[in-house]
Every structure is written in C-alpha cells, then in structure tokens.
C-alpha cells in the first residue's frame, strides 16, 4: 500500500478514474480532457486517456487526434524532472457503430507508437499497457454501464481493488529497481591503503597510478551525489582521523558535506548499515554497499540480504569501470526509457514530422482551434431545473457555492435578478447548459454577482473568463457601473480563489469571505475565438 505514497501524483484523464486510485494518497486529477493546469510540484504525472466510447467513426478519430495534441502540449509544460506514465490506448468497447475497423485500429496503434516515441525521447517516461489489466480481468465486466452513465466512469469502479494491485506492480517495475543510497567503505575503496596504518600522507590518492584511480572514482561519486544518489560511509576507522583526511588531503575530491550519513567506528557493519537506513528513513532494500573486503561483503549478504553488494574488483584500474556498471544497474532508472524502444526509432521520425504539422505551441492556439460557441440566455421554465441542479452539484468552479432550489431560482427571476445559463459547444459536440451566473441588481447602476459557476466539463479553456467578460459587457451596456462580487472558500473551490483578482476586481474586504468591487468604465475585449450568441 505504501509504494507510491509520499509522492504527489497528477492524473490527466478523460473519464472518471478517481475510484481506481482511491488507495493512493496525494493524487490530484485534471478536469475531463482538461490540460489547462499543469502543476509543477508533482513527482509523477499520469496520462490516463482511454478510448472514447459511444462515438461515431469520424468523432473517434478526431478525439484520439485531440488527445495526442493535448499530450504534446502537456509535454511542453510539465516538470521535466518528474515521472510521466503514459497509458496506452486499448479498444475497451467494441466498435459497434463504426464500420472501418482497420482504420480505427491503425489510429490506436499510431497513438500508442506516438507514446512510445515520447517515452524514447523523454527521460523518466514509461508507457503503461492497460491491455494487461484488461486481459487479467477479462472475465469481469470492464465497463459497468450504470456507473458510466451516472458518473462517467469507463473502467468499472468495482474493479478498483484489482486495479490498485495491478498498478502498484507496474510502478514497482518502474521504480523498485532504483536504489537510493550508496554506502561506501573507505580504506582500499575511496583511497588505496589503510589510513590508520599509513597515515594521511601515505594513502594512495592523487594524480599517479594507482592514486589517480581513486581520485577518478571520487569524482564519479561526486557526480552521482549531484544526480540525487545519497552517499554514506560505513568504515572501521577512527572518526577523527577520517575527517582530518577529508579536510587536509590535497587530492580528496569528496568532502564531509557530500555525505548524508556515516558510521565510522568498530561496530558490526550490518548494524551500522541498518542504523543508517533508519536515520535516513529509507528501506534496507534501497541500499548498495561498496566494500573491497570479501569477508565483510559476505557478512552483509548474509545479514542483510536486501542490500545490494556488488563484487568489488581485485585490480585497482577496474574500479572506475566497476562503478559505472553499478551506477547504470542500480541508480540510472531513467534509462528505462531506452528499453525495447529501438524498434520504434524509425517510427519516431515519422511521428515527429506529423507532430510539427499538428502541434500547437501555445494553449491559446489550441483553444482557438476548438471552435467554441457559447450561448448565454436568461433562465426560462425549460432551463430552471438544470440551473438549480448545477447550483446543487457544482463544487470546484463555484465562487460562492450557494445551493438553490428551482423555487429559489424562480423567485430570483420574479425579484428582477438576472439569471443566466450558458451552454457551450465545440467541434466535438455540445455540452449543454454548463455555466450559471446569477446577478442581483442593487440600484440602476449597481449590481452584485450572487453566484457564478461552471461545470468541470468545460473547464480548462478559459471559458470562465470569456463568459464573465461577456456578462459584464452586457451589464455595462445596460448602464451598470459598479459590480460587487464575493469569493467564499470551501474545501473544493480553491481554483477560483483568484478568479476576480485576475479579472481586475478590487478587493474591498478580506477575511474568510472575500468581497470585491469592479468599477465598469469600458467594455472588456474578448478573445475572438469564442463566439457568443444570446446576450
């Protein structure tokens, strides 16, 4: 259960996958097909887009093509030092409406090859074969249509326990191999000879053979340390003498500050190693022990079988080569990107070419390509039920989270409030009524925004700004000059905390509920790629 804990995970997705990850902590989810927010303080990004279901043939291709463009945009802005796990597409649902199955298969294969090409060129990137999970569970219902239509889940949430197990296994295969800490012996390891016998001047470390071997080895260790490998010392020596050597020997590359922990004493080395693992709060199985003495090595192998204890070379000139292998085997996980991907090399060039034709360098260009149509209308008897429902259900993008019944909405309209419902359509389809704004007129030239909310279905395209600007422009045209607004924080609506600030509202009252005022003296300009109808 602990394997991915203490990591912050961010999942890009097109369906509801929260139940599948309920056993993992520190997981956040994007909106559906939403890539507008790419947080940076993330250790593992997961790209979990699954084949769309219930789409016609043309829409199917377009969707998958769209996923690909989105992923390319995410690649440009995600934190390059974080993991990226890419779920390959699997045709979960049969293509009952679609006639050209070959072409669909090709589309999926091409998408998956694109993922492989990305994994090949970006470090810390791995393709996850969802198909393995589907095959393991093929006797069970992969899609539960009740949950699909109620909650937009594709993979049956009833399979969440087996999904967790399976996914942890995938993660282990990726990360489990990598060790965290190198525990180093000193005499005849970091330098030649025995410090306690030969003294600081007597040890082999310098620019001639064999001292140059140890100096090179230390330089490599320093580099390893910079790349994130923890360096520690376990040595039978007098501690004072050791630090004096590190401080005063002119050819000593490593310094005391390069080590995160040490046990320099005459105690049992197994005990010392266990101690260091405890001190650093890492598993015994994340340690590699470098030691020239075969007796000590064998003792650790027996006492602590989880620790990796590579055979130290007999010849001094082999030490550098030896360490390179140790590093590649146990510390350079990032190399997983190379595995198995040669065969996609030729393909990569093709996909890169395609990419350059299709990819958008800025999210604005992408949004512009969506052909977004927003229709804003005042509430009527047909739309009141949906408006009330949205005030009840919307948690994330909701500035005040006031819940209203249908009767409340009707009363507002009778009292002269403006209640707007917006429906949003784009080239992929019509999302229906997905935004609500309730405005209370205070005086002929003053108004207050009582509620403003958007369904998460349409987040990620800055529609929230365009729509509010449109509404404010309409208010301005109707003689409103001052608009009051408030933000009421809840556990869920943090993403809207600065919404009014971004639109240029002035804060007039801080505190748990923030109040704002905007003096309207001109029209907002709205990006031309949103087309509005209605108000």
């Amino acid at each position: 259960m602990k394997i991915m804990d203490n990591r912050s995970i961010y999942i890009f997705r097109n369906y509801t996958v929260e139940p599948l990850f309920k056993d993992f902590s520190g997981v956040r989810f994007s909106g559906y097909e939403d890539i507008s927010n790419v947080p940076q303080d993330i250790s593992v990004y997961i790209w979990f887009y699954t084949c769309p279901v219930n789409e016609g043939e043309q829409e199917y291709y377009e969707k998958i093509n769209d996923f690909r463009q989105k992923l390319d945009l995410v690649l440009k802005s995600c934190n390059p030092s974080s993991y990226l796990l890419l779920f390959a597409l699997v045709p979960i649902d049969s293509f009952s409406f679609q006639t050209n199955k070959t072409k669909i298969k090709e589309t999926i294969i091409s998408y998956n090859q694109h993922l492989n090409a990305i994994a090949d060129s970006r470090s810390l990137t791995k393709v996850i074969e969802l198909e393995d999970f589907i095959l393991e569970n093929q006797n069970l219902e992969i899609i539960d249509w009740r949950y699909y239509f109620l909650y937009k889940t594709l993979i049956n949430p009833g399979l969440s326990a087996s999904f967790s197990t399976w996914f942890r296994r995938q993660w282990l295969a990726i990360e489990g191999k990598r060790k965290k800490c190198l525990i180093l012996d000193l005499d005849d390891t970091l330098w030649g000879g025995v410090l306690g016998e030969e003294g600081i001047e007597g040890i082999q470390l310098g620019n001639d053979y064999p001292g140059n071997v140890y100096k090179t080895f230390q330089k490599m260790l320093l580099e390893a340390g910079k790349s994130g490998v923890l360096l520690a010392i376990v040595s039978k020596n007098n501690e004072n003498e050791v630090w004096e050597a590190f401080e005063t020997h002119p050819d000593m590359v490593l310094k005391k500050a390069d080590f995160v922990a040490w046990r320099i004493n005459w105690n049992d080395k197994a005990e010392n190693i266990r101690d260091i693992a405890r001190e650093l709060n890492i598993g015994i199985d994340s340690l590699v022990f470098i030691e020239d003495n075969p007796v000590e090595r064998n003792w650790i192998i027996q006492a602590l079988p989880e620790v990796v204890v590579p055979d130290f070379p007999k010849a001094q000139y082999q030490i550098v080569h030896f360490f390179r292998e140790v590093y590649n085997t146990w510390f350079q996980l990032y190399d997983l990107t190379r595995e198995d991907h040669e065969k996609f090399q030729h393909y990569k060039q093709n996909t890169l070419r395609q990419q350059s034709q299709q990819s958008f360098s800025k999210i604005e260009d992408y949004i512009a390509s969506l052909d977004t149509k927003i229709s804003v209308k005042e509430a009527d008897n047909f739309t009141i039920p949906r408006i009330a429902q949205l005030t009840q259900k919307t948690n994330q993008f909701n500035l005040t989270t006031r819940r209203y019944s249908e009767a409340d909405i009707s009363n507002f309209i009778e009292s002269g409030y403006k209640v707007y419902a917006a429906s949003v359509a784009d080239k992929y389809g019509d999302n229906g009524i997905t935004a609500v704004c309730i405005i209370k007129n205070i005086s002929p030239d003053q108004a207050e925004i009582d509620s403003y909310l958007l369904s998460c279905r349409i987040l990620g395209r800055f529609i929230e700004f365009a729509l509010m600007k449109r509404i404010l422009n309409n208010a301005y045209a109707n003689g409103i000059r001052e608009v009051f607004a408030s933000y009421i924080p809840t556990a869920k609506n943090g993403q809207t905390a600065l919404f009014y600030d971004k639109l240029g509202f002035e804060t007039i009252k801080n505190g748990s509920d923030k109040k704002y005022l905007l003096k309207l003296n001109k029209l907002f300009s709205i990006e031309p790629y949103y087309s509005f109808t209605g108000i």
């Binding site: 929260e18 009740r146 949950y147 009833g158 969440s160 259900k393 556990a491 869920k492």
Partner: protein, 74 residues
Amino acid sequence: MREDIKKIMAVVFSVEQGSIPEDVAYGIHEKWDSIHHLNLIVELESYFGVLFEPEEIQTMTNIDRIVDCLTLKK
C-alpha cells in the same frame, strides 16, 4: 444493518470508526461528495451482494434511504 453501513461509510470516507453521525447525508457531510458516493455504492454492492439501479443510487443520500433500498433487495 445500520451499523454495517456506518462502518463501510467510515472506511470509504477515511474517517474514524464510530464518527459517522446517524443523520449523515450526501452533500452535508464534508466527505460525502459525488466521488465518495460512487465509492460508497461500489462498497455497499460488494458487501451486501446486490446491484442498485441508477435511480436507487441517486436516492441513497442518507442512512434511512440506503436501508430502504437494501431491504427491498432482500
């Protein structure tokens, strides 16, 4: 049955056993949002060995209603 339901709720909401009040309700209890509702339904179905209809899932918003739905299934 009520106690079993509360135990399942405590696990699904990741709160302490025994901290689920009798009048716990969807949308009122801070943990009981739509995703936790979905998780709760999945757990109830597996624990009691039943399948709920979508209409039932939408009405099971407090303990009384969950008990009603379960009783109908028995």
